[in-house]
Symmetry: C2
DNA sequence: CCCGTTTGCTAGTTTATCTAGCGAGTTCGA
DNA sequence: TCGAACTCGCTAGATAAACTAGCAAACGGG
């Protein structure tokens, strides 16, 4: 992203680092495009789909999600979040559950419909990604997943 | 993303593949959050920022971008794209240039203001990512960037 | 040279976001 | 223990951004 570009002045080492950053860019670009496509396929707007993505990922980490969490993740107001949940709730994609310990709070749960629908449109991509992954040795995969985890932490600005 | 989860039934090999997919998820989640944050920092809505991202990436690949390309990338209508470009043009982030060979078409160009502003808010993340990358050997970096490129191609559904 | 297509735009409508403010529930210190 | 300050999610009304429909200008193959 930053500087170089005149590759003549770069060492092989610099170039390797550079290539990784370019790879990240390419990946995030492809991700953007894929998610834009899914929004059309699932007949959903970008924000609502981003919320579903977030819910799915948090569910897999066994973390509960509140309306407030959604607002923070998407950086929209809590008022907009209320309406977002109204929409997703009305279409049967999420449910509002009571928070076990806090009477004010809610826990937003995914419905099977969401999971199935998301999987339906995401499955091909997962299979494609798995196919790519399977071409690497286990040692390489460890390096890659370690790298991805570290990059994720690095860009996660804990507000 | 799909299936497993009861890790007892997985081989070490399966687990390595699984971990990479989990890494991709974590990364895309962190990316989502980072971009949401930038939208607040840059005082821009999510779509407009996504358009800027696209333009920056395409510029680095030396590909020109038309309004139509933006519409396809974001999956919004050409009408919405016109207004999006009106906004970004009005705020001095992009310029409409004539297409060299097609009198109907336009080429959307970034301004220095865009590049600087984007870099200002993205620099810290780039540095953080570079720092992570520099902890790996050149051989590992080659594997990683190769992987990222392949994953990008894999999920790029050419409409 | 024409006719069908493509490109980007305008107009008017619908949808989604925002700001402001409220009631209920929680927390904590006097 | 009780009240003040705070947090959570919601409502109401205003603003911003998306959509559909349709148009003129430019292109391009027969």
């Amino acid at each position: 992203m930053a500087e170089p570009r005149d590759s003549a002045a770069m060492s092989a080492r610099d170039r390797a680092v550079w290539e990784v950053l370019a790879g990240i860019r390419a990946f995030s670009d492809a991700m953007d495009r894929m998610y834009s496509g899914m929004k059309g396929d699932m007949d959903m707007n970008a924000t609502d789909l981003a919320a579903i993505r977030m819910l799915i990922i948090r569910e897999q980490r066994e973390q509960s999600v509140s309306p407030h969490d959604i607002a923070r993740h998407l950086r929209i107001s809590t008022a907009s979040t209320t309406k977002l949940i109204d929409r997703l709730s009305g279409s049967g994609h999420v449910v509002r559950l009571p928070h076990p310990h806090d009477g004010r709070a809610r826990v937003i749960g995914l419905t099977d419909k969401s999971r199935h629908e998301f999987m339906l449109h995401f499955r091909d991509s997962i299979v494609a990604m798995r196919t790519v992954a399977e071409e690497y040795s286990s040692e390489e995969l460890v390096v890659i997943s370690d790298f991805l985890d570290r990059i994720s932490v690095a860009i996660d600005t804990e507000e």
